[in-house]
């Protein structure tokens, strides 16, 4: 498969791009931020995502979805990133659906229709400390009657306050540091003993600290196999990581384009500042970095879709490289805008904020670079 978008994908990209530009540009984010909306996204827009067919892209046709892959999801995410669109697409339709695709038919029937219809939102309850360390999960799920009793705390559960269901990673065996003994559960948000405390993030998204106080779930709530949650979780995380990387590429490209536009307009010392060679070289370097990141992300998407055994390495490369490149894009963006870039009134700061949040999501560039070293054997 050539490493570029084929004709269908290019058409999809055009229509997604048009949609986001019209329905959910940066002004949409600003509006929701200024409204102090407690969900952090628009349910109306989420419905529109459904009408466009985005919500169920990754669900199988058998389950009512489109049976598409990570390349297609990445196309949506890049535009989401470019427009800083707030939505539960990454958590629900990319990571969440990827996990549910590994679940039994009953669970799929329970959750996928609502997701596909743009009515259901999922949250991912993975992190237990300030950094992403999935193998270190310690939260307990003890056998209790026919099911399990969950106790513990999760944090950085994006959209955790508005989610209808949380995918919760907990330990049914083993101990922190091991991959065996982890189990994934689908926990409904109104389960007794579950409480979520939502906090606004720097990018205006909402993320919750979630407390599990003897939350009882039946054996049917298990996604995949008991103690073997690592395998489902890995699939879910790879989709989420690649998706976050794609969104970051959109964020970086959006910030870069806005900055290049500014460089062509803004005058100082009687010259358009884009004519200053020092800024030209830095911008050209930034462009190169973004192109490398974009290539790595597309490669990771393709390898994941092909089920290639090299995919995990490339997923980490993509998340790490997108992290480094987009961080550069937003830093250069604010700096090259000068004073105006520091004002809330101007949009470039939003890009810096979204980049910051995405960089932490599913492991930051440091986490993934370290994984690359580990996977490479050193």
């Amino acid at each position: 498969m050539p490493l570029y978008h084929d004709d269908d994908q290019t058409m999809l990209k055009d229509s997604v791009s048009e949609f986001m530009k019209n329905e959910a540009p940066v002004s949409h984010l600003r509006e929701f931020r200024d409204k102090d909306c407690k969900d952090g996204f628009s349910h109306g827009l989420w419905k529109q995502f459904a009408e466009m067919g985005f919500t169920g892209m990754l669900a199988s046709e058998e389950d009512g979805g489109l049976g598409m892959g990570n390349v297609e999801a990445g196309i949506v995410l890049e535009e989401v990133g470019r427009n800083l669109t707030p939505s539960p697409f990454l958590t629900t339709s990319v990571a969440g659906v990827t996990a549910l695709n590994e679940a039994g038919k009953a669970m799929r029937d329970q959750w996928l229709p609502g997701i596909i219809a743009g009515e259901t939102v999922l949250g991912l309850a993975i992190d237990e400390s300030v950094k992403f360390r999935p193998t270190q999960i310690a939260m307990k799920a003890e056998r209790s009657g026919n099911g399990f009793k969950l106790n513990g705390r999760k944090q950085f559960v994006v959209q955790g306050g508005s989610a209808d269901m949380l995918i919760v990673a907990a330990r049914t065996g083993g101990s922190a540091g091991e991959t065996d003994g982890l189990t994934l559960f689908a926990v409904e948000k109104d389960a007794a003993g579950l409480s979520a405390d939502a906090a606004r993030l720097v990018d205006s998204a909402m993320a919750a600290h979630v407390e599990f106080d003897n939350v009882e779930v039946t054996a049917d709530a298990v996604i995949g196999e008991v103690d073997q949650g690592w395998s489902v979780m890995t699939k879910m995380l790879h989709a989420g990581q690649t998706g976050a990387a794609a969104e970051m590429v959109g964020v970086g490209a959006g910030a870069m384009d806005m900055t290049i536009g500014y460089l062509k307009e803004r005058k100082q010392f009687g010259q358009v500042i884009g004519s200053f060679q020092a800024l030209q070289h830095r911008t050209a370097h930034l462009y190169s970095e973004m192109e490398i990141a974009r290539s790595a992300v597309l490669k990771a998407q393709q390898l994941l879709d092909e089920g290639d055994k090299g995919a995990p390495l490339m997923v980490s490369v993509a998340k790490a490289k997108a992290g480094r490149a987009t961080n550069l894009a937003v830093r250069e963006g604010v700096q090259m805008h000068g004073g105006i870039g520091m004002t809330d009134e101007y949009d470039i700061g939003f890009y810096m904020k979204r980049d910051r949040a995405l960089s932490e999501f599913f492991g930051d560039a440091n986490y993934h670079a370290n994984l690359v070293a580990e996977m490479s054997g050193y």
Binding site: V202, A207, F276, G339, R356, N370
Partner: protein, 393 residues
């Protein structure tokens, strides 16, 4: 005992007696800083006592001459006072753009009459000043400023607007660059002083990406300024401004890593944990923190050298530009790592647990460091032209 040793002993005793314990605590919020001015009030008795003791001793502006409200200390004595205050972590008794910015300009360019009036007011914290340099659109090209003062015989009528005027909404007076001759870019600017209570002055706070800020936009709508309220010469205000910009950069140049803020790696280790080898349990971050510590400690040495050379007048006059460039870039880098170490918790923008998002707001605020007071790009231009003497294009 040498004179300086005696001075140190005296200073130590004086501080012991006059600096209340509450004034030796770190500054926690804006309220802990005393800015003076017409509308100022003290947070508590300790703040008031410390301020008044310093005013009486001349220690709000210790190195200024006594007749202007200072204590007339020599640079060596001034350094000792600073060291001794640092030792007991004494707070500055008075924070003031009058002290930091206007004062040095007055000392160099003011008439004797101006010095006696304004410097004493500043020293006693009676008048709070703000600075009116930048304008919307002027940016790095400061001399392109458009605010115009029309000559009306015994006064000017000033129209225009300024941006990035810190605390303009709280200041009593402004020192301000105003164009008084449109035919000459550099030699057509006057360094004016006027009362912010004058008719036609209004201010509007600026919201930053980090949240609310002391910065304002300030508007002048037919503001009358008497013709004797300027420093230096009419139409030669750029000389004063340039001098002050250099001075400002000297001050700014000490920030960022050289501020004794200590090892970030050490600070974050308890939160992030350690690995089997006792190292910070984030190997990539640890490497970045190690590089940061190297940079920060090396920068601290440069800041010390810079101050020592400054006192001995051994610096190249453009050195503050380099210090400003390096210091601000380092501070941005430090805060990127604060965010990386803080992880998802450092993303929280308003939560109580995070002090209302102190980390992300602090991080975003640092992004202005390399813009305000001269961008990094302008600093690099200055270094390459004035220090390295590379030719113009």
């Amino acid at each position: 005992m040498s004179d300086l040793e005696a001075f140190r002993a005296d200073t130590r005793a004086w501080l012991e007696e006059n600096c209340p314990p509450e004034m030796r605590e770190p500054v926690r919020d804006e309220d802990d800083v005393y800015w003076g001015g017409r509308n100022a009030s003290f947070k508590n008795d300790a703040q008031k006592a410390w301020f008044e003791a310093c005013v009486a001793k001349g220690y709000t502006v210790a190195e200024w001459p006594k007749e202007y409200g200072g204590a007339g200390l020599s640079p060596a004595e001034g350094k000792i006072l600073k060291q001794e205050m640092g030792r007991i972590k004494a707070r500055p008794p008075l924070s003031s753009f009058g002290i930091w910015m206007l004062g040095p300009a007055l000392l160099d360019f003011g008439t004797e009459e101006q010095k006696l009036k304004y410097l004493n007011e500043i020293a006693r914290g009676e008048i709070r000043w703000c600075q009116g340099y930048s304008e919307p659109g002027s940016g790095s090209d400061l001399v392109s400023l458009q605010t115009f003062g029309e000559d009306k015989g015994d006064h000017w009528v000033v129209n225009g607007s300024k941006i990035w005027t810190s605390y303009a909404d709280k200041a009593d007076w402004i020192f301000c660059l105003v164009r008084t001759d449109k035919s000459d870019k550099y030699r057509g600017i006057t360094f004016m002083l006027f009362d912010m209570a004058s008719e036609g002055v209004s201010t509007k706070p600026i919201l930053l990406i980090s949240g609310s800020s002391p910065f304002c936009e300030t508007f002048f709508d037919d503001v009358k300024v008497p013709k004797d309220q300027f420093i230096g010469e009419i139409n030669r205000g750029w000389d004063v401004a340039k001098y002050l910009l250099g001075h400002e950069r000297e001050m700014i140049s000490n920030m960022g890593g050289g501020d004794g803020s200590g090892s970030l790696g050490k600070a974050v280790k308890p939160m992030l944990g350690e690995d089997a080898m006792g190292r910070l349990d984030e190997p990539m971050l640890r490497a970045q923190l190690a590089e940061l510590d190297v940079e920060a400690l090396a920068f601290k040495a440069m800041a010390e050298r810079f101050m020592d050379e400054l006192k001995a007048r051994k610096n190249h006059p453009a050195t503050p530009n380099m210090m400003k460039y390096v210091g601000t870039e380092l501070n941005k880098r430090r805060h990127e790592l604060v965010m990386a170490a803080g992880g998802s918790e450092a993303l929280e923008w308003e939560s109580e647990a995070t002090g209302g998002g102190a980390k992300p707001r602090g991080w975003l605020r640092t992004k202005a460091n390399s813009i305000e007071g001269g961008t990094s790009e302008v600093m690099l231009n200055v270094i390459s032209k004035r220090i390295l003497e590379l030719p113009d294009a």
